[in-house]
Amino acid sequence: MDNLYKEFEKEALPHIDALYNFALKMTGSSDDADDLVQETYLKAFRFFDKFERGTNCKAWMFRILKNSFINDYRKNTKEPDKVDYDDVSNFYENIKSSDIKTDHLQEDVYAKLMDDDIAASLNNLPEDFRTVIILSDVEGFTYEEIADFIDCPIGTVRSRLHRARKMLYTKLFSYAKDKGFINEK
């Protein structure tokens, strides 16, 4: 048991920052993130003897956190944003090049945005889309790890990530325009 506890500390604790950040972004509250991360670690420790050695402990921990978030945390707060994937797809896939000025991407328009503005735009994405973008672009998971974590095919991870970035772009584009960072000709 002592060895198991030491192994748990060695395997699981190094991922705490990644889990905490993810929890923070999913819940939007440091108190809720604290509770969620603590609950995740206690559950993980309880079932650590079931953890298959040599597999990805970080992904295993994230899966526990995600399940805790869905089963425990979210039940007690509010229903998640319902996403109609077809609607999202139709809307964001149909943004044409004529609708968006590519020179906005060349200019350093987004450098003018505050980090908080970017974080707020990210937080406003529907949960499933926010999840993949955080896991990929903040936490650096591979598609395979994300697929394992959210329990869906790699193709879904890829399409969701594609749409998530486009949604984020659209939100930031509007935001930058409102702030006057973009002058439409």
Partner: protein, 283 residues
């Protein structure tokens, strides 16, 4: 057509992420991007958003109090699980002759290991073998590796078990209101049968008692104590060792020498357990 369009769009995402594409596919996607302003835009959106999020979404540091809480709670859970494992073992009453042999083997091995490596238990006092055995046995109990040979709930049962298992000296097994006897083991140390029993309180704190006849301390190398400790015990001193998660006491009463290891409050053990035992006439 829509499927084809989506495929190239998603391939662009894979291209940006350097994922899920063969080299040949990557070259094909790059060619498509280079040739189409619309796909160039898609590529720029994907790349710029990825870079923006990576660079600008700040990662918070986990608060120290949260790490402390988690370490503390998992550590507590670990200890409770270990104790529960021992108590469950007692409840299941696993009597196996093979196990009895295992205990003796473990004890001898650990004693030898201690002597060879000369691990200082207290930072100075010479190796007390009764002490080392007791500490190791307590750790094994906590770890759930050492299970009782006999489920007992009162002193009479324990003493009868000791006698029937070949313990050749009078044993002292007091009863207390706040600690319940939960199990007993007899080990074989160089042909001598030696007595061990365990108490638990309602919160799961354990008291492990290993008792030998004082003659064993000079006749059996496996329990022999250093001259300093032996002299202290013969002078009726209680020798105490403190660790961060348990305390070990060595003391003598009548003809027997005891090694007691506990994770309960050490002052309570001294005042309510050891003093009562020493003042009792229970033999």
């Amino acid at each position: 057509m829509m499927e084809d369009k989506n495929k190239i769009l998603y391939d662009i995402t894979s291209y940006v992420d350097k994922e899920a594409l063969t080299e040949k596919e990557r070259q094909y996607v790059k060619k498509q991007i280079d040739e189409s302003p619309e796909l160039q835009l898609e590529y720029n959106i994907q790349k710029s958003m990825k870079n923006l999020v990576s660079a600008r979404i700040t990662r918070a540091k986990t608060p120290a109090y949260l790490i402390d809480n988690i370490v503390s709670k998992t550590s507590d859970t670990s200890k409770r699980t270990k104790q529960q494992s021992f108590i469950n073992g007692i409840k299941e009453f696993l009597f196996t002759p093979k196990y009895a042999l295992g205990i003796a083997s473990i004890l001898i091995l650990l004693t030898i290991a201690y002597s060879v490596f000369n691990i200082p238990p207290d930072g100075g006092i010479k190796t007390p073998n009764l002490f080392v055995q007791a500490e190791n046995n307590f750790a094994s109990i906590i770890a759930g590796d050492l299970k009782p040979q006999k489920l007992c709930s009162n002193a009479g049962e324990v003493k009868e078990f000791f006698r029937s298992a070949g313990v050749a000296y009078a044993t002292i097994v007091p009863e207390f209101k706040e600690w319940n006897i939960i199990g007993a083991v007899v080990s074989d140390e160089q042909g001598q049968k030696l007595a061990h029993h365990v108490y638990s309180d309602d919160s799961g704190k354990l008291i492990y008692v290993y008792q030998v006849n004082k003659a064993h301390l000079t006749s059996n190398k496996l329990v022999e104590l250093s001259p300093e400790i032996y002299d202290n015990l013969m002078s009726n001193n209680v020798v105490k060792f403190e660790a961060h998660d348990h305390s070990t006491f060595l003391f003598r009463h009548v003809e027997n020498v005891f090694a007691l290891v506990t994770n309960d409050d050490d002052t309570k053990i001294e005042k309510r357990f050891i003093e009562n035992l020493i003042n009792s006439n229970t033999i």
